[in-house]
């Protein structure tokens, strides 16, 4: 591909969830003209969720994403809690949080060893057929490879025990859970959790040895080329610690100053979205800062979510081992907020350790074993559920009719928040790899590495109506009958 070229397609982009492609255009001087991150898929959940039964939504919306179904399942369940005015009893809440942290552990593990990590564990310039989990196993050895597979299995097994199935769990209900766990299952969870904490700790050692000490990664994470000073958004608990299952939304400016801290349901009022004719995804931004194009800095409303952003909005991690690693992370960057895009990998592993620690703590709590599993429900209405998906803030917002059917469903999905930032990162890397009208095909993987930082989930991304609060206007004739219904 060494002749002069005008357009380069990476299609499909790989080692992520969902469909995406990158189009790189060269100008007449052979430099980068522009680069586009396109999402060529749409399924239409927003439309066919209308008319469904509220209690079916956790199992319908989790089919938006089979990599993070737990995030949709519980964002949905929490929205239903709010719709029915029914907080789950302590036992159900503990079961949910336990499952949820197991999911966060398992999902972050998946990204490091299967999706984004192989670029460094196997090497960015390794043959494409080796840049995958099997290449990782080849590189780190069969024993550690088996450990990786076993611990991903542990996360999935905990999800299966509490959720009824390892993928697409079924046990979340408005105001509770459909089942508890047995004493044997709890013992099984405890022993898996203890092992997961050690494995996550060992994974961070691998990170220091294989990534931070690696010349390419070190250059990407500590150089000035892949730094995007953007707003960050994430959930924090009352103590300002990272919180995956529940919390307030906190947004900080590129300099780290607090921009907003609001109850999760109110985040909708801070965001606006735009469409572009060349992609099926919509692009949100902070409304009051405004859309200044695909640009970074304090005047651009582009913001990020996910591990890097969560570690920028929190004041602490909330678990001891992960806190120690977080301090090491801050030391490396000379304090927060951190805007080096490649630091997503490190932040993700700190969260993976924290999630494992939380699983261990939650599994020790006797509240899991007794007490009611369901709270009494009120009359159905409007409700918002917010949760930290592995990839960032996820919001489900439902309006149920008096019979508990969905009048409208509004979803704000993790990867969608990051679409503008991903576009910026891709363009930045494309600028680096396009030289005098030539692109070495080996270098194209670097462009893909720039999006893999975000662990994007593009199946999720196309299902969002950011910033559009459901609105229904009935136009009635003189006889009071509805003549026209306007919805947005």
């Amino acid at each position: 591909m060494n002749e002069r070229i005008r357009q380069i397609s990476i299609d499909p982009i790989t080692r992520l969830e969902g469909h995406g492609r990158i189009e790189i255009f060269l100008d007449e001087d052979g430099g980068l003209a522009d680069a586009f991150f396109q999402i060529p898929e749409l399924r239409g959940f927003e439309e066919f969720c209308r008319g469904r039964l509220g209690e079916d939504m956790p199992q319908i919306t989790e089919r938006i994403c089979g990599v993070c179904p737990e995030a949709h399942h519980y964002a949905s369940v929490k929205a239903l809690d709010a719709c029915y005015g029914a907080a789950p009893p302590p036992r159900a809440r503990a079961l949910r949080e336990l499952l949820y942290n197991a999911y966060t552990f398992s999902d972050h593990l998946l990204h490091f060893y299967y999706l984004g990590g192989p670029d460094f564990l196997v090497g960015p310039y390794a043959p494409p057929q080796e840049r995958n989990i099997l290449g990782v196993v080849g590189k780190v050895g069969l024993e550690l490879g088996k450990d990786v597979i076993r611990h991903r299995g542990y996360g999935q097994r905990i999800i299966e025990i509490i959720g009824g199935r390892p993928i697409h769990p079924v046990t979340g209900l408005p105001g509770g859970q459909s089942k508890g766990i047995t004493a044997e299952e709890r013992d099984e969870i405890r022993s898996m959790a203890a092992s997961a904490v050690e494995f996550a700790t060992a994974t961070l050692e691998i990170f220091h040895r294989a990534l931070l000490a690696d010349e390419t990664y070190h250059r990407f994470v500590s150089g000035s080329a892949h730094v995007l000073p953007l707003y960050s958004m994430g959930l924090v608990d009352a103590e300002g610690a990272v919180s995956f299952y529940d919390g307030d939304v906190r947004i900080v400016a590129p300099d780290g100053a607090e921009y907003a801290r609001v109850a999760a349901a109110d985040v909708l009022s801070l965001i606006e979205e735009r469409t572009e004719p060349w992609t099926y995804v919509k692009i949100p931004y902070l409304k009051d800062v405004g859309w200044k194009g695909f640009a970074a800095g304090p005047d651009s409303g582009v913001y990020r979510v996910g591990p890097l952003a969560r570690l920028n909005v929190c004041r602490q991690i909330g678990t001891p081992r992960a806190q120690a690693e977080y301090e090491r992370y801050l030391d490396f960057f000379g304090g927060g907020p951190v805007h080096a895009t490649f630091a997503y990998h490190w932040a993700r592993l700190i969260e993976m350790l924290s999630a494992a620690e939380r699983v261990a703590t939650l599994a020790d709590d006797d509240v899991l074993m007794s007490g009611p599993l369901r709270s009494p429900l009120g009359a159905p209405g409007r409700g918002v559920g917010v949760i930290e998906a592995a990839r960032g803030v996820l919001i489900h917002d439902y309006d149920l009719d008096p019979r508990g059917r969905v009048r409208s469903a509004n979803l704000i999905v993790a990867t969608t928040h990051n679409v503008a930032a991903i576009s910026l990162s891709i363009k930045e890397m494309a600028k680096e790899v396009v030289r005098d009208g030539r692109v070495d095909p080996e270098l194209l993987n670097l462009v893909e590495m720039s999006f893999r930082n975000y662990d994007p989930c593009l199946a999720c991304a196309t299902h969002a109506l950011p910033g559009e609060m459901p609105l229904v206007i009935d136009v009635r004739g003189p006889d009071g009958r509805v003549q026209e219904r306007i919805e947005r």
């Binding site: 898929e41 959940f45 089979g66 299967y114 991903r152 060349w278 508990g404």
Partner: protein, 324 residues
């Protein structure tokens, strides 16, 4: 024995099917040892260009998950069909259209209006920005399962396919000992055959929704009034949802001898509802029990709206604007 050449692909899908392959845990290492993976966008770096460069029939078997939603899905399905000796419809979306088949109840324009707002804001199949021409695949008017786009050799039902069935499939792939074309990797019987709950065929006097009451964990959910799709659904998963105190939602599709899952379920339910003595006088009361099912489509055709014999006829009635 030469390594089997394997492909795994997703069309309109959620990624759960891809993850279901990882659910075999350590057996994935046997797959690595016994198969060469020529395509797997979720986990490996082969591109469409590589796929186009393979010879026809070069890939031994492709596990294809996802439905045909966009023109790109259809084109890639045709390309994969040409390159693969065997093609597997893997998971609900490829098999029966899946949850996303519910989109067939709405016109394409309505879906776009709901998602993007007014027409001027819709994505376009071709657009130009400062001389850069960008294309998007068209969104087809109707979603179809894989078998309506190309010939399919094997089917693996489930959303996603359960672990033991995935093991069975991959064992067959690795050994090269594949069953006859047309084989469905699942039980030929319905879910009730493998359900641990006790069924007494009690008359149903009231339909219950899962959040309305806590079911008895030993008794059949249908007997208790919960609409469990077990009788109309193919077994093979071990009845994991009823075991978790939740009704079966029918993800594995209809049993072998039934053409339409929802019709079969309605038939079963109609025979179970009772309002006192049998006979014509109670028929209206029995109808009233059935009318308590608030969302017929979402309940009976959760995973099969795209392949139901009812087809588009439900579209008008299911239009949510008559939800007053």
């Amino acid at each position: 024995m030469p390594k089997a050449k394997l492909g795994i692909y997703w069309a309109a899908a959620c990624g759960g099917c891809d993850c279901s392959i990882l659910e075999i845990n350590e057996q994935i290492l046997d797959v690595a040892a016994g198969a060469e993976i020529l395509l797997w966008p979720c986990a490996a770096d082969a591109k469409y260009e590589d796929l186009r460069n393979y010879r026809n029939g070069e890939i031994d078997i492709v596990l294809f998950n996802g439905a045909i939603r966009t023109e790109e899905n259809r084109e890639i399905a045709e390309l994969i069909r040409a390159k693969a000796k065997y093609l597997v419809a893997y998971g609900s979306c490829a098999h029966t259209g899946g949850v996303i088949g519910l989109a067939n109840l709405s016109e394409r324009d309505r879906i776009f209006e709901t998602v993007y707002g007014p027409r001027e804001r819709w994505p376009r199949t071709e657009s130009s920005l400062d001389g850069c021409v960008l294309r998007l695949p068209a969104f087809r008017t109707q979603l179809t399962p894989l078998s309506e786009a190309v010939d399919v050799d094997f089917t693996v039902p489930g959303c996603p396919p359960p672990r033991e069935i995935v093991r069975e499939l991959l064992t067959a792939v690795l050994s090269g000992d594949l069953p006859p074309r047309g084989t469905v990797f699942a039980s030929s019987k319905n879910l009730c055959e493998e359900c641990p709950r006790e069924r007494t065929h009690e008359r149903i006097g009231r339909i219950l929704r899962p959040h309305e009451a806590e079911p008895d964990p030993e008794k059949c959910l249908l007997d208790q009034g919960f609409v469990c799709m077990g009788p109309a659904t193919r077994g093979g998963c071990g009845a994991v949802c009823p075991a978790a105190n939740m009704p079966c939602t029918g993800c594995a599709g209809p049993t072998a001898d039934v053409p339409d899952q929802g019709a079969a379920m309605l038939n079963t339910l109609a025979s179970l509802v009772g309002a006192g003595e049998e006979g014509e006088t109670t028929m209206a009361d029995e109808d009233a029990v059935l009318m308590q099912i608030e969302d017929i489509i979402g309940t009976f055709y959760r995973f099969g709206a795209a392949t139901s014999i009812l087809g588009r006829r439900y579209r008008e009635r299911a239009n949510p604007t008559d939800l007053d």
